[in-house]
């Protein structure tokens, strides 16, 4: 009965987040190098190309930041819910719902002046994302229905909804059978900041900053973290869990919806693949940020760079699968390392011995609580 198991650290490893990322990155690059050598490439050249295409120029930075916007907002959506111990797996669907809502508004008022149209479209996207989270929020708060399942299922609804729209009522009559909606009014495009980056980068940066500060410094964020640490402790200090679940899940959906809005206003029309899997990637972003909204931005930029770099090396002849594998390795390495900032491997002896070393609290003592004699 000897073996190893993961045990929660009493306190997270100091500086763990950064160390974890670097360790994971190094491990992944080593494995990736073997793959590249095996397929006839020089790993050093390829890695330099990856870094260069992600960070080497203004153009590179603009691509990286543009990728980081939806990743960061989706990651924030997951992390905001996650700080309270809720899992929003539905960011993908909420991004799409946001884009649908934005596109719908644009169809209603195609002649509005640019700034007004953009603001209305983004607000609609926020509302749309929030609305898609409304059902799961109500079900969780009032009936205790697991939000993981409901938010996950609603992704499918949203994906099919946009497919239906661009194949049916919204299909562009001039696109001769292509499943695309008509182009958006020109003035709906977000103003360009530099190269490919538009003002969406600034919007996302402000949102991430506000939530990062709010979650760690405000009274609201404090309540969120108490509820995430212990639901009973939250009730004990008079926090209404129902109200908190409602606001947090809807807020989470709204943030993802904003990502959909920014994407829509960065492209010329709504299409089936308006979200490139950012909602699911956001779960990884949030996990790497250890569910802390303040850590999301840095992770999102690194993740965005990885995506940009991964795409760029394909132009060097590296196959798409190898590129995907390298990206996945980096994420797996970082995630695995992140686990060790909060957990450590301990060797356990026989059934009885393992219990002896743990503090006598309910969670650690296994099957029965210890009677604390005096």
């Amino acid at each position: 009965m000897f073996g190893y198991r993961l045990a929660r650290r009493e306190k997270p490893l100091p500086g763990g987040q950064l160390v974890a990322f670097l360790v994971g990155l190094t491990g992944a690059l080593i494995v990736g190098a073997i793959l590249l050598i095996a397929t006839g490439f020089s790993p050093i050249e390829i890695y330099i190309e990856m870094a260069d295409s992600a960070f080497g120029s203004r153009q590179a930075w603009s691509s990286t930041l543009t990728q980081a916007v939806p990743l960061g907002l989706a990651g924030l959506a997951v992390a905001v819910a996650g700080s309270m111990g809720l899992w929003n797996i539905g960011a993908e669907g909420q991004i799409i719902a946001g884009a649908i809502a934005g596109a719908w508004v644009a169809r209603l008022g195609p002649d509005l002046p640019g700034p007004l149209l953009i603001v209305i479209m983004l607000v609609a996207a926020v509302v749309g994302g929030g609305l898609l989270a409304l059902g799961p929020a109500l079900a969780r708060a009032h009936l205790g229905v697991n939000e993981i399942i409901t938010t996950l299922m609603l992704n499918e609804i949203a994906i099919r909804m946009v497919r239906y729209l661009v194949n049916g009522p919204w299909q562009d009559p001039t696109a001769v059978g292509f499943p695309v909606a008509p182009v958006l009014p020109e003035q709906a495009a977000l103003p360009v900041l530099f190269n490919r980056a538009n003002i969406g980068v600034l919007i996302a940066a402000v949102v991430l900053l506000v939530f990062g500060v709010f979650a760690s410094r405000s009274k609201w964020g404090f309540e969120l973290r108490v509820a995430g640490s212990s639901a009973k402790a939250a009730e004990y200090i008079g926090i209404s869990l129902k109200a908190k679940i409602m606001t947090v899940l809807i807020l989470s959906g709204s943030i993802a919806g904003l990502a959909g809005g920014i994407r829509l206003n960065s492209s010329d029309r709504i299409v089936e693949g308006i979200s490139e899997g950012w909602g699911f990637a956001g779960i990884i972003v949030a996990a790497l940020a250890l569910m802390r909204p303040s850590g999301v931005a840095a992770v999102a930029i690194a993740f965005g760079a990885l995506r940009v770099g991964g795409t760029a090396i394909q132009t060097q002849g590296v196959s798409a699968s190898i590129s995907d594998i390298i990206q996945a390795l980096v994420l797996m390495g970082a995630l695995a390392a992140a686990v060790f900032t909060t957990y450590q491997i301990t060797r356990v002896g026989s059934g009885g011995q393992a219990e002896d070393n743990s503090a006598p609290d309910v969670s650690a003592t296994g099957p029965a609580t210890i009677e604390a004699g005096q």
Partner: protein, 496 residues
């Protein structure tokens, strides 16, 4: 013939000695009661027998053969089964599936298992439907499934940990019939209980534990009477050293509880028409065996559990309809039984835990004034001599005594009119106990009305101005601690 023989069992946990040379001898074909107060070491001793813990010292023998169980599976293989207070069943599995889980052939027809489980149940008179899913069953039926699980694995020794705590009286009677059916087959049943009438009705012999030691072994139950049982369980009256000077002048009523009834999810009246009052500067103690309504009463007063009926007032203000937070603002502080998880948030640091009561007033506007929060935590740490290591590290690593000082300190920082302290010294070391008791005494002297809920009679006798006893959700008796004997209080606790 002796089926079970535990001898000189020692079991130490960090800061706690749970068993200090305890022994137990059970003859085969009998139902044997194990009695003792909370913290007497009963559950630990049973866990040693069931292979959950390995004893530090001492021997375990089954039918005369020395055993050393490395894990529960080894104990089950040797014929020891245990039914815990919290059932370990899979709600969405059927009765038969739960019974056979982990102890059935790899491939088996569902119908065949149901038939076999049904036959086994019938043999012992356990009324159950093998095909029904567990979530549909009452607590009594679930317990029968647990017993079936043990019988399915052919347990020769069956441990029942406070089996009647979750049962209705009719179900408890039924359980008595089942245990005697099993005993008549030559099996041994160990029956952990606090209730004398049950012990008398269901058991043949009784062993009493106190403070981790066996103080009476294998007494025939016919020789037990309420007085001697209470005395064995709680011990002789000892000279109390730091007995508190009683409050001579009780101030205005600080806490007034009128006809409060609390109903649990199973519809049982866990708190049944309780009325009491605590004056300013008074300590009112509530004694009782665990599970007689103390916890739901405390939670209901603090607002964590809703009242079925009745009112709670703090200094004349009706707070019955208020949230836990608003009750705190109205002057009611609460030190809950679960320090970490209810009173304190384990993954947050000392600063954040210290501000749980007043975070709304720390800093104007939406943000918390970090400096004020930090100073407040430092102040508490200083005043109550809390050893926290790093002030911004999660609390989970702190010792019980430090956690409790932080919790009690924070609750008193808001200068409450009333403090409800539930098991405030349970599990603490000697210094921790003294520190918390001193704080309670000081606060009473400063005019706080304190409701002290404890299972430690020593503590209650030392600190209380008045002593109430809870039994089956009701206030069963009311004592003057200067005049009352431990005997009388112990008897009231066991419902005699």
């Amino acid at each position: 013939m002796t089926a079970v023989e535990l001898e000189g069992i020692w079991k130490r946990f960090p800061g706690v000695i749970a068993n200090a040379g305890a022994s137990l001898s059970v003859r085969s074909g009998t139902v044997h009661a194990v009695l003792g107060e909370n913290g007497a070491g009963k559950t630990t001793l049973m866990n040693v027998l069931a292979g959950v813990y390995t004893a530090d010292e001492g021997s375990v023998r089954l039918d005369g053969v020395e055993q050393r169980f490395a894990n529960p599976a080894a104990a089950i293989a040797a014929g020891v089964g245990m039914v815990y207070q919290e059932f370990r069943l899979i709600p969405t599995f059927s009765v038969a599936e739960n019974v056979a889980l982990g102890a059935a052939p790899a491939i088996v027809a569902k119908g065949a298992i149901e038939k076999q489980v049904g036959e086994l149940a019938e043999r012992f008179g356990l009324a159950t439907e093998p095909g029904r899913q567990v979530w549909q069953l009452s607590m009594g039926e679930r317990q029968r499934v647990e017993i079936l699980k043990a019988l399915w694995r052919d347990a020769k020794v069956l441990i029942l940990d406070e089996p009647t705590a979750v049962l209705t009286p009719a179900e408890a009677e039924e359980l008595g019939r089942i245990t005697s059916a099993m005993a008549s087959e030559g099996r041994s049943i160990i029956f952990i209980s606090h209730k004398l009438d049950e012990v008398k009705a269901f058991c043949d012999e009784a062993t009493v534990l106190r403070g981790g030691k066996t103080v009476a072994s294998s007494l025939p139950v016919d020789e037990l009477d309420p007085a001697s049982m209470a005395e064995l369980m709680v011990g002789e009256a000892t000279a109390v050293s730091q007995r508190r000077v009683r409050t001579t002048e009780v101030g205005a009523t600080a806490l007034s509880v009128t006809n409060v009834t609390v109903v649990d999810v199973h519809g049982r009246h866990v708190v049944d028409d309780v009325s009491l009052s605590v004056g300013a500067g008074e300590i009112v103690g509530i004694a009782g065996v665990a599970g007689n309504g103390q916890r739901p009463l405390a939670d209901a007063l603090a607002g964590l559990t809703s009242l079925r009926s009745g009112t709670v007032s703090v200094s004349g203000t009706d707070v019955s309809a208020l949230s836990p937070g608003d009750r705190n603002d109205a002057g009611l502080a609460y030190v809950p039984e679960d320090r970490l998880g209810v009173g304190l948030a384990p993954r947050m640091d000392a600063v954040e835990n210290a501000m749980m009561r007043n975070y709304k007033t720390l800093g104007s506007g939406a943000f918390v004034d970090r400096k004020a929060a930090f100073d407040q935590a430092e102040g508490l740490i200083d005043r109550y001599q809390i050893k926290v290591g790093k002030i911004d590290a999660p609390l989970a690593g702190l010792s019980g005594g430090n956690l409790q000082r932080l919790l009690v300190g924070r609750e008193l920082d808001g200068e409450p009119e009333v403090l409800i302290a539930a098991q405030p010294t349970r599990g603490l070391d000697v210094q921790g106990v003294a520190a918390i008791q001193n704080i309670l005494v000081e606060q009473a002297a400063a005019g706080v009305g304190i409701l002290l809920i404890s299972e430690d009679l020593e503590e209650l006798f030392a600190l209380s101005d008045r002593l109430l006893v809870m039994h089956e959700g009701k206030i069963a008796a009311n004592f003057d601690p200067d005049a009352a004997t431990r005997h009388a209080v112990g008897a009231a606790m066991t419902g005699a």
